[in-house]
Amino acid sequence: MHPFSLVRPKTVREAVNAAAQAGADTRFIAGGTTLYDLMKLNIEQPRQVIDISGIADLSRIETDGGQLRFGALAPMSAVAADAVVSRDHPVLAEALAKAASQQLRNMATVGGNLLQRTRCPYFRNGAGGIYPCNKREPGSGCAAIGGLDRGQAVLGTSEACTAVSPGDWPVALVAVDAMIEVLGPDGSRSVPAGELYRLPGDAPHLEFTLARGEMITAIVVRKTNAGRVSTYHKIRDRESYAFALASAAVVLDFDGERIQQSRIALGGVATRPWRAPDAERLLAGERLTPELALAAGHASFREARAGRHNAFKLELGARTVADALLIAAERRR
């Protein structure tokens, strides 16, 4: 690991100022479960690390009123266990509870989790490793394409990168149209969760739309009645403590027996948290049946492109969406 200096600001303003004064090789650290891990692999090599975990008031969970507001430093475990979140937006609580282990959920924050980096094994092979990776070393090539690609994405891929966006929580936030509050050198702004992420295109090393020195300060979710009719369904190689092979976040707004509006987002299969508008359109105004649910699942993968070993994700993903729809629909009663 490369040496770095550590700064421990006490306020958000101090943190942002420290970042503004520092060079490009500066990172904020919160729980550290991604950044410190990647620093050990020499994939991240910051010269300065700004530890924001001592900032007061940035870990508050507010559930009164018409919205849920999560301070960026709220631990994943705390939001997952919040009674109002579990009752009113199970999709959020489930996405958090099904991620990582309790130890890591106690460390990781809901803000930091949005910036988790891919688990692509070629990326994680590390700096100086024998495999090229465009995300790690721009222009070096992609060993996953044509390689061991069982875990790779089938949606949103490019000729340069097929690495999966690994998170669960971002997928749920995209499904509930969450807003991300950001503070930077030029002040604060609010970004829809989905717009935080870039497609890999020909520059897969650029993953987020945050500007240099910008810091996530909070996540805001508008409360809706449909929030209760939701789920996060996650399929893994083992039952617990594994990344998704395929997952689906689903929120259903019923008008009587018919779906008025649905919101569907996919995880484990795409290069960024992936909304499925084709499936959403298919369901609008319809009664939900198992057949329709599966059709919506297949519609979600209409533009998918498989590699050598991951074609199974198309059918697995479609069935994951279908099951998620049926699980969520049960909750309207």
């Binding site: 479960t33 130890q103 106690n106």
Partner: protein, 218 residues
């Protein structure tokens, strides 16, 4: 648990200065000895001007000052900013109960409690222990009296090689305290971050169920 209820063994105290020879982390023998002395006496200050350094919290040469409580003892130490809490515990304080399995947060062998919550100490910067309370397996028992979870692991044969056991027990104690040991299914889910390559899972779940009822009775 109270801050006074647990102590290092004599051997652990003695070994601390000798083990703190990680020269690459620019630790002087004097700082290491100071840290060892602080552990032995429970004193806050180690001398060597480190109090002033600690007040700023930031030192110029890629080091950090950390003031923390480890198993009830107040300690102060200056360490390379890169140091993990796991390495700090093992290499500077000779607390080798927490194990380095994967060093990447994937196996759970390094599980300890930080301010009462279980964490993976391998992915925790030592600097993050500043101002907080650390509890390791060495601080779990009250003298020679084993914690109910330790006794239950023995009673239920919940280990074979024992390498993952300190992490399992620290995770298990937290699992009960969180209210997540209410059924076998829930125990399995909330213990999934602790891998046992010997496959002692049946005994582990049984031990946690047993200890949970005793811990609830207090």
């Amino acid at each position: 648990m109270s801050r006074q209820s647990s102590i290092l063994t004599e051997g652990e105290r003695r070994s601390a200065p000798d083990k703190a020879t990680d020269g690459s982390f620019s630790v002087t023998r004097r700082t290491a000895l100071g840290a060892g002395a602080a552990m032995a006496t429970g004193a806050m200050s180690t001398g060597v001007g480190s109090v002033q350094l600690a007040q700023s919290g930031i030192l110029p040469d890629h080091t950090v000052a950390v003031r923390t409580w480890i198993n009830g003892r107040s300690v102060e130490v200056t360490t390379d900013a890169r140091t993990s809490l796991l390495d700090l515990l093992r290499e500077r304080f000779g607390l080798t109960g927490a194990k380095k399995g994967c060093d990447h947060g994937q196996c759970g062998a390094c599980t300890i409690h930080l301010d009462g919550r279980r964490v993976a100490s391998c992915l925790t910067l030592a600097a993050k222990a500043d101002g907080r309370e650390v509890l390791t397996i060495e601080g779990l028992s009250a003298g020679d009296a084993l914690h109910p979870m330790q006794q239950a692991f023995i009673d239920h044969d919940a280990l074979q090689c024992g390498y993952c056991t300190p992490g399992q027990i620290m995770a298990a104690v937290a699992c009960v305290a969180e209210g997540n040991a209410t059924s076998r299914e829930r125990i399995r889910e909330y213990m999934s971050g602790n891998i046992c390559r010997c496959g002692a899972y049946v005994g582990i779940v049984a031990a946690i169920e047993d200890a949970a009822s005793k811990m609830r009775r207090g």
